[in-house]
């Protein structure tokens, strides 16, 4: 199992994901803007932002731990790109897959959050510190439900490999219907993972300025923003692979188009939530996640287990 430099850097690695991330960032921004009765940015705005920020000076605060300050964004972007290798996008299989790669992907997707925490913590600014603590508090609220619902479909498919799950459900598309609760839980948890309204608590600008990223500027900030965009695509791809695996075996241009449509649907759902809701408080968020989202996730797990026992497929 080796990965070529081309795969790592160009396709489906860093550059491909970066471009996809920015295009979907544009989609998110334009949908959000139209829902708010605004015109929205032109299509190249995310690229322009990236180039402009990349050309600015990096300022590292004197008080900050400069090593961790620089490493955290890189750690975040690397983890996200690596996790994309295990997610089946189109044409059947992911670049790599093995039994249990779903666990690895979830683990890898947790790293950016932890990296954000380090970024905020080692900035040593007050706002960053509060933001960093909020990032971790939030992680404990949404991560468990997300973990449960991503693994639940695996019970029926009798595999914890994402490619295996996608293959199983695309052969038995009707069984996808049983995962609707899981899909809804995943959408809620995604908003926490991507730090979007109503769960944009770690970067609530009216409270703690820029939150975790307050002290970042220039290239490092550009990378953090890029990580965010790429993370949106990767996480949406993960959810679509698990819950919407229709046509995942189709390759080529058609398969790619289906993939794009699925991601776009998820991004649009997220944008609609962002437009329709207010930011809630951190303790309300934790309360909501443990009181409603986690039980729903366990309910999904039960559905899968009962169905597995009834139909004989699965463990």
């Amino acid at each position: 199992m080796s990965v070529s430099l081309f795969e790592m850097i160009v396709f489906p690695g860093f550059i491909f994901l970066g471009v996809m991330g920015m295009l979907f960032e544009y989609l998110d921004r334009i949908v959000y803007a139209r829902l708010q009765n605004r015109k929205g940015p032109p299509w190249f705005q995310p690229f322009a932002d990236f180039i402009k920020m990349g050309s600015k000076e990096d300022i590292i605060p004197r008080e900050a731990d400069s090593g961790m300050f620089v490493l955290s964004p890189l750690l975040a972007v690397t983890a996200v790109v690596v996790s994309a290798f295990y997610i089946p996008m189109w044409g059947g299989k992911a670049l790599f897959s093995f039994f249990g790669d779903a666990v690895v992907v979830i683990y890898l997707l947790t790293i950016p959050t932890v990296a954000y925490f380090f970024a905020g913590w080692y900035s040593t600014s007050l706002y960053s510190t509060v933001g960093a603590v909020r990032t971790l508090t939030q992680l404990f609220a949404y991560e468990v439900p997300l973990f449960l619902v991503i693994l639940a479909p695996g019970i029926l498919a009798n595999t914890w490999s994402l490619s295996g799950m996608a293959e199983f459900y695309s052969q038995n598309p009707l069984l996808c219907v049983t995962n609707v609760v899981g899909f809804m839980v995943a959408i809620v948890a995604l908003q926490g993972k991507l730090e979007r309204t109503p769960f944009d608590i770690p970067e609530a600008k009216t409270e703690i300025v820029g939150g975790t990223f307050t002290e970042y500027s220039g290239r490092l900030l550009a990378f953090l923003k890029l990580t965010h965009s790429v993370k949106t695509v990767v996480v949406a791809a993960l959810v679509s692979a698990v819950f919407l695996p229709f046509g995942v075996e189709i390759g080529g241009v058609l398969g790619f188009a289906i993939f794009i449509v699925k991601i776009a649907v998820i991004v649009c759902i997220l944008s609609a939530f962002k437009a329709a809701l207010a930011r809630i408080r951190i303790e309300q968020m934790v309360d909501f996640c443990w009181r409603y989202v986690a039980p729903a996730a366990i309910f999904q797990l039960l559905i899968s287990m009962v169905l597995g026992a009834l139909t004989g497929c699965g463990v």
Partner: protein, 410 residues
Amino acid sequence: MDLNNVVKIPIGPQHPCLKEPACFTVSLNGERLAGLDLRLGYNHRGIEKAAESRTYIQNIYLIERVCGICSHSHPSCYIQCVEQIAGLEVPARGRYLRSLIGELERVHSHLLWLGVAAYEIGFETLLMYSWRDREVVMDILAMLTGNRVNYAANVIGGANRDITEDHKKDILKAVDVLEERTKYYIEVATEEATLIARLSNVGYISLDDVKLMGTAGPTARASGLDYDVRRDDPYAAYKDIPFKVITDTHCDVYGRALVRVGELMESYKMIRHIIQNIPDGPIAVKAPRKIPAGEAISRYEAPRGEDVHYVRSNGTDKPERVRVRAPTMVNLLSVPKMLEGDNLADVPITIAAIDPCFSCTDRAIRVSDLDGGNAKVMTWNETRRFGIDWYRKNGIDFTDLNKRLAGRMR
């Protein structure tokens, strides 16, 4: 409370949640508030002093610039003082016109507040919607007076500009649009779960505390204080206009939001009543240039609360003393009380809920140390010198830069 765990976070003087500089130093114990230190004085403009060296007519335009949003309230309040001293009787049409602009201003101020409040709790869609709709009333104000803010709609003795039949039609049309949109906001405010979760039980202040601190305006009415200058001490045409004083018993930010949207609905009714019942006749009487010696105090229900002006004249064409007490002054004192035991996340919305206007309030003339002691008065030149020395002591010297800039300008 473990004092070792207290973190002090400065909100201000420059902070995304503040529209004007003010400094709230928040002591945090985790996410909970352990204390709040309030610091004003970043915005002192010396308007009261400047008013003493200008004529009564010039002062209308100066006082108008006390506040960008209540830019009809302040000059109206000032002019009422002057008219009271001079013994002028404003003709009925002039009084109606004053009330009309006053109510349009209230509509634009409350819609602005709704957007700001939504922004503070991260509900940007409501900000975009309410500010879009605010343009409707801004257009009407621009049509009536020529300006979106600072309308210059008043003269001593009456109103500055008359309205025509075409204006009346446009106003009624705009009010219909606004009423429909406001109904939608009331629907949002009473049904949207995250909005209610963020506003309910935040910034609680009881009726007793409201009375104790002299809180004014919608902030006080949301705690059940049934008091409105327009009804209880009527000025302009409010004696003839039927309206309801909106009160609420929630005592929190949610109540303040409900009171403001309720007042919007009342304002629409009042505007309709004014348009339908405005009497014919002159809009102003001629005022003397020199005002006889005397003093007067007048009150005005600005969108943010009760505005009080005091003018003392000495028989010349310039006032001897003008005193402005903006509603934010009294409301701000209640903010630390409101925030007791709340979360960090509640600080921006609680500050915003009193609809603060810091530059209207700033009267800083004393320089004191951070602990409050050692107060002294400084002249302008001393203050400037102090600033230059302070920066030099901290290793920042602008002398070279100033020389270079001066050279470039030449």
